[in-house]
């Protein structure tokens, strides 16, 4: 009985010291450079058009893939970095319908570390693209969303989703 008692104390002491041992965690690495991930030359691969009001009301015809209606895949977007910060952009429409009203100028983001929106600017004209996710090793696509609203009511009527690949 006494030996069982001693053994229990030894085990509890061993567990106590083992529990206090500091663990060596792996380095988590440097934070993702999201600006670099979204910069560079991109080719448009997919376009979908969403009727926002129909989607909101639960109507049957709300989303269509319109990639093949026009030669959208001939469109290229280039976002250039300048000393690690957003610099200039160019959009070569090719034979695709324009996806923005401007095709060159400067670009910027709402947050340098975790951008959620890209703003394209040329003079007084600005176009905002909402980011759908950062390209990474698992999903290398750049996804952006452009909304079109009615000038009078300010209601969002159409959402275009653009998917780009390198």
């Amino acid at each position: 009985m006494r030996s069982i008692y001693l053994l229990t104390i030894l085990l509890a002491g061993g567990l106590f010291f083992t529990g206090c041992r500091p663990e060596g965690f792996e380095q988590i690495g440097t934070a993702n450079d999201n600006l670099t991930a979204i910069s560079g030359a991109w080719k448009l691969t997919r376009v979908t058009q969403t009727d926002f009001e129909s989607q909101r009301k639960g109507f049957p015809y709300a989303v269509e893939d319109i990639t093949t209606l026009f030669n959208y895949t001939s469109l290229q977007l280039t976002l250039t970095l300048n000393a690690g910060a957003p610099g200039n952009f160019t959009i070569n429409n090719g034979t695709a319908p324009p996806i923005t009203s401007i095709t060159s100028g400067s670009w910027n983001v709402d947050d340098l570390k975790t951008p959620k929106a890209i703003t394209l600017k040329n003079g007084a004209v600005t176009e905002v693209m909402t980011l759908g996710g950062y390209p990474n090793t698992i999903n290398s696509k750049l996804k952006v969303k452009v909304t079109r609203s009615d000038v009078e009511s300010n209601k969002v009527l159409i959402v275009y989703d653009y998917e780009f690949s390198r």
Binding site: D51, K57, L69, E152, S153, I158
Partner: protein, 259 residues
């Protein structure tokens, strides 16, 4: 003499009939498309009508579900029905309304509305406006539709013909071939010769064509496109097995100003 009298009566009748069917069209509604729950602004221009020169003009309005709440007394219009004059623009007025409030009906009950302008005591009035349709709040299947339901001049517009919803023999039997589209600018001037689009099958008894207004036409300087019309064309076989060209009704679509 009797024939002359009959002829004169016929002329008078025709004239009266014409007077009954005159339509007031010199107005715009913004936004271009709206549901019964949206506030709309009606922009009136009474130039060239009986109301030209009047400074106090009132609205008289009605819907498919009943009269507007401002229609209290034709001979003594209330202040709530008074149109707002546009400063510096004689004969031009505006009036804001929300369908559900104006007609005191639920959105599901309201499909369309009309109006006219009048003086306070009703001694002068304009013709009845065109029928103005509310956008539905519940989905209503139709033989012809566009996607998206509201578009601007720079948007991709898909035109659909649901042949399974056709009600006439020609529409049910036709082999769709093309779509005729015509675009109009803000002066209601056609942007050019109608374009012919090729129709493709998009499923069982479903046909589709597509276009972008500003890709088919270029707006003139300072102009913008505000509406377009379309119809599907096709062929049916006559009794001698010869092809005959038939078309669906022309559908008019307003173009929203987008940002």
């Amino acid at each position: 003499m009797k024939k002359l009298l009959i002829f004169a009566l016929l002329l008078l009748g025709a004239n009266l009939a014409n007077a009954q069917t005159c339509t007031y069209t010199n107005y715009t509604i913004s936004p271009a498309t709206y549901t019964a729950e949206d506030q709309v602004t009606i922009n009136f221009d009474f130039t060239g009508t009986d109301l030209a020169g009047e400074t106090d003009v009132y609205i008289w309005t009605w819907s498919n579900a009943g009269d507007g709440i401002t229609n209290t007394d034709w001979n003594n219009a209330p202040a709530t029905a008074k149109l707002t004059p546009v400063a510096g623009s004689p004969n031009k007025f505006t009036f804001k309304l929300v369908g559900t409030t104006m007609y005191n009906k639920s959105p599901g009950q309201l499909k369309q509305f009309q109006f006219l302008g009048k003086t306070k005591n009703g001694s002068k009035k304009s013709c009845d406006s065109k029928v103005n349709a509310f956008d539905p709040l519940v989905f209503v299947p139709s033989m012809q539709r566009i996607f998206p339901a509201r578009v601007g001049q720079n948007d991709v517009v898909s035109l659909y013909f649901h042949q399974d919803l056709a009600t006439t023999i020609n529409e049910q039997r036709m082999q769709p071939v093309s779509v005729t589209v015509e675009v109009f600018d803000n002066n209601d001037v056609s942007a050019g010769a109608p374009v012919t689009l090729t129709v493709k099958s998009a499923g069982e008894k479903l046909w589709k064509a597509y276009f972008i207004p500003t890709r088919s036409y270029t707006p003139g300087a300072g102009k913008k496109f505000v509406r377009f019309t379309y119809k599907f064309n096709g062929t049916v076989q006559d009794a001698n097995n010869q092809p005959v060209t038939v078309s669906t009704p022309v559908v008019e679509v307003p173009l929203n100003e987008m940002k």
